[in-house]
């Protein structure tokens, strides 16, 4: 066989893709997905507004960096495929295997092995690896184990989409936002992964938590010839939140207002409508949230103090800054996504009276198993010995949907709670006293278990009927509820080296009822850490479309020493529709961390950076007096 290869010119990044608009990069064209959101009519506003501000912001790819690389073990024969591995979404993997092997779901079994973090990186790719391993197992007639080493994993698996956003805002004399135009672009890479959905979430967060009557969002995902980008905690929202927050910071400077003051004049209130025309029915107190963050961080004092100190700083004195970001994150799947999923989860009572939680939602280090157990114990009125969480195994647990989109506690936790309440009602019908103590409930469970062992209580998700979403036109209720947050970063830049040290971080959020305070704070701390990496350190270096720094010694994530004290503070407005008013929390902290850090850098440097990560190599020239320039 003879193979002739002719290298064609490749499209290797977003700027090139947008400049060349080459049709030959992907069958769908240079743009693999486009979304438009329109509210009111911004056009006439630009000419009559007191201020028009324009901005451009870019962000790089970011690697999820879960603990263990992708890995899968497969057994396969003509009539069956079984896989086990590190994964977030067992039923996604089952779905993919069914399609490739042409088998019905009953003959394809997927078991989640212990998984050390996913961050979106174990959402989609495990299906690819499961198919590879299962095909080899079928051919070999033997089990096959495939485990990527870190270098392979970093080089091949999808990362956060690089982004480039061009935006424009109009304000009146008092700094009220009149019109907003956002051109949001993602680098999809060579294949279409979850890109359309990531683009959608990015577009839906592009207007931030601000009231504005005239909005245009144009969101496009561009094909390039690099490895494809995909799901990563935040799912497009970190990129678009960064852009709107950068735009507001620029506007504040242009209008001569403090960035916090400009935001306070424009916050969304209950009863307002978002860019998609969604009426905010839930109780929102964004002003209270922002004020809490400003107070806890001492923002106003620090801002004045740093301005004074920076003005007289000597050649080795750190330049300091403090910055604010205000943002929101839609909880659960977008629009009618949850309706389509129609998740199922529940409980099984065994012969000994032990209750098992049945859900395909995976424990990946975030504490899902603890929360399910806690919710079940609470609703049943028993202690934890009585409740276990089943291993996610498609042969045993119903499809509760993927472990993504900050939905596990809110959506699946809600189903588990309902199942537990139904079981409790059955116990009461058996004669259990309404005020029975945990020991009495346990006895009742054992008794019922003896006669009804194996009994299941499965609940199906029903979306509240007021949620109306028009996917065609991107109008209506994008999410049934939102989490809200205001973050403040305080940092110091070393003028000798351009290195940034985040010194304090205050994260104030309203995620509805906090089901488990320790785990919720853990989500915030971890998310802020990942956000600081996104903002200051994590830089995927592409060389001819390949990741050149695919080692842990060259792809730099923050260590404990690179992180500040992170203060997570919760204001609880139980407006969520999860257990007792809970909302999602997992992705939220990724959205606001980078913009808070960059806002603080604005003050420290007296100059603006428009790209993350903001590396010392970019910062140092802004600090170095001409005299010593080489």
């Amino acid at each position: 066989m003879r193979v002739e290869l002719e290298p064609l010119p490749a499209v290797l990044d977003l700027r090139q893709a947008m400049a060349e608009e080459r049709a030959d990069v992907h069958p769908l064209g240079p743009v693999v997905k486009e979304i438009r959101i329109a509210k009111g009519d911004p056009e006439p506003v630009w000419s009559r507004a007191a201020h028009v501000v324009e901005d451009e912001v870019e962000s790089g790819a970011q690697e999820q960096l879960y603990i263990e690389p992708q890995g899968m073990i497969a057994w396969a024969g003509p009539e069956f495929v079984t896989v086990t591995g590190s994964l977030q979404c067992p039923y996604y993997v089952q779905h993919g295997l069914c399609a490739v092997f042409g088998l019905p779901a009953e003959q394809v079994r997927v078991i989640q092995a212990v998984t050390g973090g996913g961050f979106g990186g174990k959402e989609e790719y495990p299906t690819v690896l499961a198919v590879h391993a299962a095909l080899l197992a079928l051919k070999a007639g033997r089990p096959v184990k495939m485990v990527y080493d870190r270098a392979e994993d970093l080089a091949a698996t999808p990362k956060r989409h690089p982004s480039r956003t061009l935006s424009r805002a109009a304000f009146d004399h008092d700094g009220r936002l009149l019109a907003l135009d956002v051109d949001f672009n993602l680098d999809a890479g060579a294949y279409v992964t979850l890109t359309p959905v990531v683009l959608s979430r990015g577009a839906l967060h592009a207007a931030g938590p601000y009231r504005c009557d005239h909005v245009r969002v144009r969101a496009r995902a561009w094909a390039t010839n690099t490895p494809p980008h995909g799901a990563f905690r935040g799912f497009g929202a970190p990129q678009s939140c960064l852009a709107i927050e950068r735009l507001l910071d620029k506007a504040a400077a242009q209008l001569g207002l403090d960035p916090a003051e400009l935001r306070l004049r424009n916050l969304l209130q209950s009863g307002d409508t978002t860019a998609t025309g969604q009426v905010m029915r839930e109780e929102i107190d964004l002003t209270g949230l922002v004020e809490t963050a400003l107070e806890l961080s001492d923002y106003r004092c620090l801002r004045a103090e740093f301005a004074r100190a920076n003005a007289v700083a000597g050649p080795e004195d750190p330049r300091r800054g403090v910055g604010l970001a205000v943002f929101l994150h839609g909880a659960g799947f977008t629009g009618s996504g949850e309706k389509r999923l129609a998740s199922r989860a529940g409980l099984e009572l065994d012969g000994q009276g032990v209750v098992q939680v049945l859900a395909a939602s995976t424990e990946i280090g975030q504490g899902a198993a603890t929360v399910f157990q806690q919710i079940t114990c609470g609703a049943l009125g028993v202690t934890h010995e009585q409740v276990r969480v089943a291993q996610p195994d498609t042969a045993h647990v119903p499809d509760s949907g993927p472990t993504v989109a900050s939905r596990t506690t809110m959506v699946v936790g809600g189903l588990v709670e309902r199942a537990a309440l139904a079981l409790r009602a059955a116990l009461v019908a058996d004669g259990l006293a309404a005020d029975a103590d945990p020991a009495a409930v346990a006895r009742a469970l054992r008794e019922r278990g003896r006669s009804h062992g194996g009994e299941r209580w499965i609940e199906s998700y029903q979306q509240p009927d007021w949620v109306v979403w028009d996917e065609e036109n991107y109008r209506g209720d994008a999410y049934p509820t939102f989490a809200w947050a205001a973050y403040v970063a305080q940092l110091a830049v070393d003028p000798l080296t351009g290195e940034t040290r985040v010194e304090e971080f205050t994260a104030v959020q309203d995620i509805g009822r906090v089901v488990n305070p320790l785990l919720a704070a853990g989500q915030i701390e971890g998310g802020v850490a990942q956000g600081i990496g996104f903002a200051l350190l994590e830089d995927v270096r592409w060389q001819a479309g390949r990741m050149a720094n695919n080692r842990l010694s060259t792809y730099i994530i923050p260590t404990a020493l690179d992180l500040p004290r992170i203060r997570a503070h919760f204001r609880e407005t139980p407006a969520g529709y999860g257990p007792a008013g809970a909302k999602g929390v997992g992705e939220l902290p990724l959205d606001g961390t980078a913009p808070a850090v960059l806002a603080a850098l604005d003050q420290a440097l007296g100059a603006r950076l428009a790209r993350v990560p903001a590396l010392p190599e970019q910062i140092l020239p802004l600090l170095t007096p001409e005299a010593t320039h080489a």
Binding site: D149, A151, P315, E316, P495, L496, T497, G498, E499, L537, R541, A548, N549, R551, S553, T554, I556, P558, T559, A560, L561, D562, P616, E617, L620, P621, T624, A627, T628, H629, A630
Partner: protein, 292 residues
């Protein structure tokens, strides 16, 4: 893991004599001290099949002791032991700083000073400190022992004056180094970081100027001692805008590269800035000056 452990053959001598004997018989043996360089190369597959000479049982290489007006640090002493030794703490604070900033605790427990030097990476953090302090290396083969100034050890990128049958047995440092000392490592982050630039300097004022040694990591194919700069400072320090002229001279002479960790422009600028930081401190510490 791309290397295969079955491809490795390990010798673990019980004494230095035995180690030197083995090395004399088989100069292809690869020396293994803490393994924090070598095993990385095993992991990524670049080491390949190898016969290893494991020095970890050699107590002779793990001592820190005074010899006359020098401190002798065995080549097999690890960073954690350096940080804990009273003489090092009292007299060689720069070395303590370099040790504290090497990798993180686990690496500090295994990585050795001898390995850092022998490995001859231009990014080695302890090496600029050792160059600034004026270290002598003790090199031994079965038949001979010699002392070589560290300056003369690094020949070219990862090429050293070590002969195939030689081991580094110890480093000799002055017990009373010059009073003006400075070290700053600028890594990719605050721990587990390889240097983008590091600068070490040690010196004293003389009647003519500033007599000092200045050395840099990660700006050249070898750990760099800045002799021209030192000559300039020896006569020009204290005159007019000497600090800025020195920084300019240093920056003009450097030929760093763009690589995966940083850029040439950044490295050059930071090298100049760190030198200025040292010179400002030196000026402040000049006898008879109030430092301003």
């Amino acid at each position: 893991m791309r290397g295969n452990a079955a491809d490795l053959e390990l010798r673990r001598p019980a004494s230095l004599e035995e180690a030197l004997e083995l090395l004399a018989q088989d100069p292809e043996l690869k020396v293994l001290a803490g393994g924090t360089e070598l095993l990385v190369r095993h992991e990524d597959g670049s080491l390949g099949p190898a016969r290893l000479l494991d020095l970890s049982a050699l107590k002779e290489l793990k001592q820190i002791r005074r010899v006359g007006d020098e401190l002798e640090i065995g080549a097999g002493v690890c960073y954690a032991d350096i940080q804990a030794h009273p003489d090092v703490i009292a007299r060689l604070p720069l070395l303590v700083q370099a040790a504290e900033q090497t990798g993180a605790r686990a690496i500090q427990e295994r990585g050795t000073l001898g390995g850092n030097v022998a490995n001859a990476s231009p990014a080695a953090d302890s090496v600029p400190v050792l160059l600034a302090l004026g270290v002598g290396l003790l090199l031994r083969s079965r038949t001979a022992e010699r002392r070589l100034p560290l300056d003369e050890f690094f020949l070219d990128y990862r090429r050293t004056a070590l002969r195939p049958d030689e081991l580094i047995t110890a480093l000799r440092l002055p017990l009373t180094p010059p009073p003006l000392q400075y070290f700053r490592k600028v890594g990719t982050r605050r721990a587990q970081a390889i240097s983008k630039v590091a600068l070490a300097a040690a010196g004293r004022w003389t009647a003519r100027g500033l007599e000092c040694r200045v050395a840099l990591a990660s700006v050249a194919p070898v750990p760099l001692r800045c002799r021209e700069l030192e000559a300039f400072l020896a006569v020009e320090a204290g005159r007019g805008d000497w600090k800025e002229r020195a920084a300019r001279q240093l920056m003009d002479g450097l030929r760093p590269i763009d690589d995966i960790r940083s850029t040439a422009a950044y490295r050059r600028q930071v090298a100049g800035n760190l030198l200025l930081a040292f010179l400002r401190r030196a000026e402040a510490g000049r006898p008879g000056q109030d430092g301003r």
